[in-house]
Symmetry: C2
Subunit: 217 residues, 2 copies
DNA sequence: GTTCTTTATTATGTCTGACATATCGTCCGG
DNA sequence: CCGGACGATATGTCAGACATAATAAAGAAC
């Protein structure tokens, strides 16, 4: 990368500000600084992929979407059904409440796609929190990024999100009655629908051998 | 938190250094700064739990281990079998190589626990990378933290890690023959053994209703 | 000519002191 | 009791200087 003084000239900022910005990127694993050699970009596998900022930046890029969206779908398909099962086993009154609230608002806004997006996010996040596992909460950033991306993708193509309400209801009810297998199956069904929707609306979602991609640093 | 100048006095550092340190913590989600109000700690769910530094810091604390280790085991039980299945489906020569190399060294060092730890880490990381899914690679930090912790826990209690070699071999061979279900099952068996070992060697692993823990910020 | 040692350069890392800016608490007047 | 002006305070930004270490180049020994 350009040196700190050069970056300072480029963006009209003092070296202090440049250094703090680089420190931020360094903390997220994007770059690494060594004396004399300067600051270099780190390989993709060093990035904190679940960091909310990194997810947002990669989304805003727009062009990088196809494999990105596909990977997102696959990881959600792994994590969220398991999280639903864990939540069914170990939820409490305190942690079940937010799930029920979010679902109630989803029912109220089932006719309006933009108003539906926020309770949808809260629903999935509340389930992750209800697992009681600290690491599951870390996926909230991922699901929120995914939902944000999918809303942008689907917003122009289809109507109201009404049909997904009963699928969400099935997840909630299975969790409420502490039916782990049922919650897992219901969440799988819900994500399958999402995946089909996204795949239908996006051309070239890099399914199949989508791995062989650019892989630029 | 104390103000930046106070921290500077406390640690004999200039405000520049203090600010860069705070920026690092801020990038990882531990703290947030607002003008005039000062810098405050953020709730646990805002932390980047998969960040390598945060995992290392939480491990070095020592006392926080019981629920931490339990959560680690549960997340691995969710992610790694699925990763093994994905790797079985979409590995290439390039991505299979590191798995085989790591396993070969595990066989050579099966008698020596400390020498065994490193290829063990590489084995699990290589599988995560072989999925071809960028987000799966992000779990490498987690599995490495987990293995580091488990080695510390088990090092004083038991002998050589020999018995786990055939379990690893089963995972490798299932991946090599592109048997997704087999790889998933083999990885589940491997992690089950690890979990049983850890639970046997640690008192009070916060199994069951381990959720109701301190939850301090 | 090759190799080892020394020196110089150059980037990051640290320090200092100052000013800018926004926000919270307080005070005052309506 | 309420709303606006004002001052205090902590973060945010700036400028210039020096420290430090790692690389590259120059030089000495063989």
């Amino acid at each position: 990368m350009p040196g700190e003084i050069a970056l300072g000239r480029r963006y009209r900022a003092s070296r202090t500000v440049v250094r703090e910005a680089l420190k931020l990127l360094s903390a997220k694993g994007l770059i690494a600084s060594r004396k004399r050699s300067g600051t270099r970009a780190r390989p993709r596998e060093a990035w904190n992929m679940l960091d909310a900022d990194i997810l947002a930046w990669r989304l805003r890029d727009g062009r990088a979407e196809p494999k990105f969206v596909s990977d997102l779908l696959h990881v959600r398909a792994v994590v969220e059904p398991a999280a639903a099962a864990m939540a069914a086993r170990s939820h409490t009154k305190k942690s079940l409440g937010p799930i029920e609230e979010a679902f109630a608002e989803m029912e109220r806004t089932a006719h309006n796609r933009v108003a539906f997006a926020d309770p949808d996010r809260r629903f999935h996040k509340a389930i992750l929190m209800a697992t009681g596992n600290d690491f599951m909460g870390a996926f909230a950033a991922l699901t929120e990024a995914a939902l944000g991306a999918f809303v942008r993708i689907a917003s122009r193509h289809r109507g109201a999100p009404g049909p997904s309400v009963p699928l969400h209801r099935a997840v909630l009810e299975a969790i409420r009655r502490r039916d782990a297998e049922g919650a897992q199956a219901a969440m799988t069904a819900l994500l399958d629908r999402t995946a089909r929707n996204v795949e239908r609306n996006v051309k070239g979602t890099a399914k199949g051998k989508g791995r062989a991609r650019a892989r630029r640093t």
